[in-house]
């Protein structure tokens, strides 16, 4: 019920975001343009509008949806697998690791595989190192994992800085803009890579959501309940890291969504991951569309959306820690 409502809101806001911006088309004009993907005959005055909708706003909105789904649902997966309501791709250092991988791919395009694969490798190394650092005697304390993630993230960020220093002008420019986290130079080629990848990853994760419930009870209990803990954790964390890496390689680091959305979904629907996953995915997409629309309309120039999500997200974590601390640990 709530999920249907949220999905409806997502569609409405995606459409509204098409209308909002420096150029403000009318409702009917926009509908006519959407209905004509091939474009208008030469000389038609709506050709400009067609370019704005089909080449700029639509891919941008679709990418925001893909990235929102990826970050929010991978946050829920990390939280369930590590039994830790405070982790998400950014805090665990996965985003920074993926960013380092992608930056390597940008600076040395000849030596490395595709940017996406490099991002996945970097993210996977980061999540594995954070987990290995935090694990003591078969236990992974909540705060230790957060600290290990911050540590790994800061190392990866430092490595990205070294790459910036080494990069030539063109690569430096590319890294800086992409790293700030934004959707400005989104093209259909990004959408074509990210959206199908994220939707496939999300579907596979959703299919394992009951297993994720059982895994959140701890390794021994999961095993006694017939869910192989190591095997399913590796699969789920790999899928979450994969969709995180895809979105990082397309639009840089966007923080906090993976923390805020699963938590909000849990407050509405309870902790069952079968409902938390789709709900937080939809809310993540919705939230990113809103933030991105703010980013491009708030002032004359464009603000990187990563800055907006951080400005909103950090106080949210503070609120969680101060008011909900007892329920969360």
């Amino acid at each position: 019920m709530w999920i249907v409502l949220a999905a409806g809101l997502l569609c409405a806001s995606a459409f509204a975001a098409l209308l909002i911006g420096a150029y403000k088309p009318g409702l009917w004009e926009t509908l006519a343009t959407i209905a004509a993907p091939q474009g208008f005959p030469p000389g038609d005055e709506r050709t400009v509008l067609h370019t704005i909708i089909w080449e700029i706003r639509l891919p941008r909105i679709l990418l925001a949806i893909g990235v929102g789904i990826a970050l929010a649902s991978s946050g829920a997966v990390y939280q369930g697998c590590f039994r830790n309501p405070l982790v998400e791709p950014y805090i665990l250092g996965v985003s920074a690791g993926a960013a380092f991988g992608a930056a390597l791919g940008i600076v040395f395009p000849k030596f490395f595989l595709s940017i996406q694969l490099m991002a996945f490798a970097g993210g996977a190394i980061a999540v594995f190192s954070a987990y290995a650092l935090a694990r003591r005697n078969g236990d992974t304390p909540v705060v230790a994992l957060v600290l290990a993630g911050v540590l790994i993230g800061s190392i990866a960020t430092a490595l990205v800085s070294i790459l910036k220093y080494l990069a030539n002008d063109a690569a430096l420019r590319e890294i800086v803009f992409w790293y700030m986290g934004g959707f400005y130079h989104v093209s259909w080629s990004d959408v074509r890579i990210v959206l199908p990848g994220v939707l496939t990853g999300f579907t596979l994760i959703w299919a394992l959501s009951w297993k994720l419930n059982v895994l959140s009870m701890g390794d021994e209990e999961a095993r006694a309940l017939g869910v192989h803990p190591e095997r399913y954790k590796v699969v789920l964390v790999a899928l979450a890291t994969f969709i995180t890496a895809l979105s990082v390689s397309a639009c840089g680091i966007i923080a906090w969504i993976g923390l805020m959305m699963p938590h909000a979904a849990r407050m509405i629907l309870g902790p069952d991951h079968r409902f938390v996953l789709p709900m937080s995915a939809i809310m993540g997409a919705l939230y990113l569309i809103i933030c991105d629309t703010l980013a491009r309309t708030l002032i004359q120039a464009e603000i990187p959306v990563g800055i907006i999500t951080s400005l909103l997200g950090a106080p949210y974590l503070l609120y969680l820690l101060r008011n909900k601390g007892k329920e969360m640990f």
Partner: protein
Amino acid sequence: MLTVDQLCFSYGAHEILRDITFEAGEGQLCALFGPNGSGKTTLFKCCLNFLQPKSGAIYFGGKHIREMNVSAMAKRAAYVPQEHKTAFPFTVREVALMGRSPHMNGFWGSGKADREIVMEILSMLNIDHLAYKNYNALSGGQRQLTLIARALAQDTPLIFLDEPTSSLDFKNQLLIWNLLREIAGQGRTVLVCTHDPNHVLWFCEQVIVLGEDRRVASQGPPRRALDQNVLRRLFGDVCRVAQADGVDVVLPS
């Protein structure tokens, strides 16, 4: 039902269990008794395949547990940990539903039949009024009952319980033990790890006593296997066995 044959276990060079052999029959309420550090929990974890023994074998109904995969194990043995809190605020019903996991096949997880089974078990244990309450917000006894409900939902011939009454008040201790007798009476084999000799004498049909020397100190019906001599060997001169209304009671001496 459960056979443990010459089991040895060590953590590196540190030996924990030596040559453990015992059997628990169908429908038996069997205690695993021993002082702290005698290896009760390790033995438990070996039986549940959480730990690999150095040598020896464990059989469920004649089948070697090494030959069973995780889901086959979960259909034969349920595990009730000491009551704890979960990372997320699941309801009592959701926690109990997880017991149905080994029987679920399909994309979505629990079905209608699973939910009905769980509600039946919750009302059998008189906790159906808690079904939609947050598990983490309950009392220790209620949480332990929920975990037992989960094990019953798993519907296995064997149930292992790790110190189920150690953190409960007296009334809840008696409630849980009577419940365990009832469960055993239905034909399930119930193995309980405990360090309270009175609970063993009052409620169990069989006891396996683990001694300080890492071996089985004695085994059999509690009256015989946990008598004055065995207690003296385990604990020294701190307690004695007396009789009250025909029931054995361990008292301080």
